[in-house]
Symmetry: C2
Subunit: 196 residues, 2 copies
DNA sequence: ATTGAAAGAATATATAT
DNA sequence: ATATATATTCTTTCAAT
């Protein structure tokens, strides 16, 4: 199990601040060569820590309206469907599905008309109740702190330490707390796949 | 007031998918030259539509624990402070402050112990009540849809159309629905600044 | 917005620590 | 295993149109 050293943290932090920063610039700041940065970034992507490079779009400029947080209390078993269908809406920026059958959306809706957004994208028969609140302010963390690389075991959910293992299945990387969890997971994964 | 054409939309969409994609690659896809892409991206940044280039970090791999949504019901007037102080916590990924004195956090906390996170970063005397819910699934929109560039007037809040105006104050760009709103805003801005 | 030239950055390979 | 130096390739930027 590869951990993260201080340099990895610095690289991550620098990329969080500006993902188009040249590797040579990063290299200089962390006292390494550009190829070394390239290798490390590749590794961070491989590890699944960097999920992608993206652009921070101010959606409030794109969609006339006010930013709101909508909390949807779904009927039993309907939350996943609601989360999936609502995320197709152009005005929806982020979707969280939580335990207890609730779905929280951050969206920008015209003159605080959230009901229309829901009516268009979800079956209101699936909804018990919903609540809309205007967002006054939102921000996202650009800091990482001294966080450790600490994935959860894909099989049992325990945290993975130095003795952990990893497997790559269909391009996705999975982490495990021990060899037996890894094997159990892989077996299950493959039998599921054979079934298809 | 400059609008967005289809090409701008495509560029934005391509950058959302991969912000490190070379401009030459984008150029090919939208049938333009690389320098043209560079100019347009610069304009999108100037407009404030692109707020920055960043990296999508899987924080659940960095912080041992489970992802949760924490809803904090703040005492009157304390929400802004809570939002500010809590966003310093390493485990907090996103903070929304909504009308009605509530703060919603997306965070990753060790063995669903959210109270510790709050206790460490906010004065619990400021809090009426809070609720923690495990996040089962979360995703963010990578699509833009056919959204129009539709900023709200910085002065009156109405939507800004073709006849709108824009001013740049201390490097920040502001949009207005009409000239008088722009003037009022600038006057107020400057008198506030003089006061300091 | 394009072209073409020049500067600059990323990667592959071989090599050294 | 991990970093480096160099060479090659690919990108971006700048000027002129």
């Amino acid at each position: 199990m590869p951990g993260l050293d201080d340099t990895d943290h610095e690289i991550l932090q620098l990329l969080l601040e500006d993902a188009r920063r040249p590797y040579s610039d990063i290299a200089e700041r962390v006292d390494l060569s550009a190829p070394a940065i390239s290798d490390r970034v590749d590794r961070l992507v491989e590890m699944g820590l960097i999920q992608g490079f993206t652009v921070d779009v101010d959606r409030s400029l794109l969609q006339a309206g006010v930013p709101v947080l909508i909390e949807v209390d779904a009927k039993p078993g309907r939350a996943a469907d609601i989360a999936a269908s609502v995320s197709d809406a152009d005005s929806v920026e982020r979707v969280y599905r939580t335990a207890g059958g609730r779905v929280m959306l951050a969206a920008t809706v015209p003159q605080s008309d959230a009901s229309e957004l829901l009516a268009e994208h979800v079956d209101l028969g699936d909804v018990n109740r919903y609540e809309v609140r205007m967002i006054a302010d939102s921000e996202w963390a650009v800091g990482l702190g001294g966080a450790e690389f600490a994935p959860d075991c894909a099989e049992c959910g325990n945290s993975v330490d130095e003795e952990g293992e990893q497997r790559t299945l269909d391009g996705e990387r999975y982490y495990f707390c021990c060899g037996s969890c890894a094997e159990r997971f892989v077996d299950q994964y493959e039998s599921l796949k054979d079934g298809v």
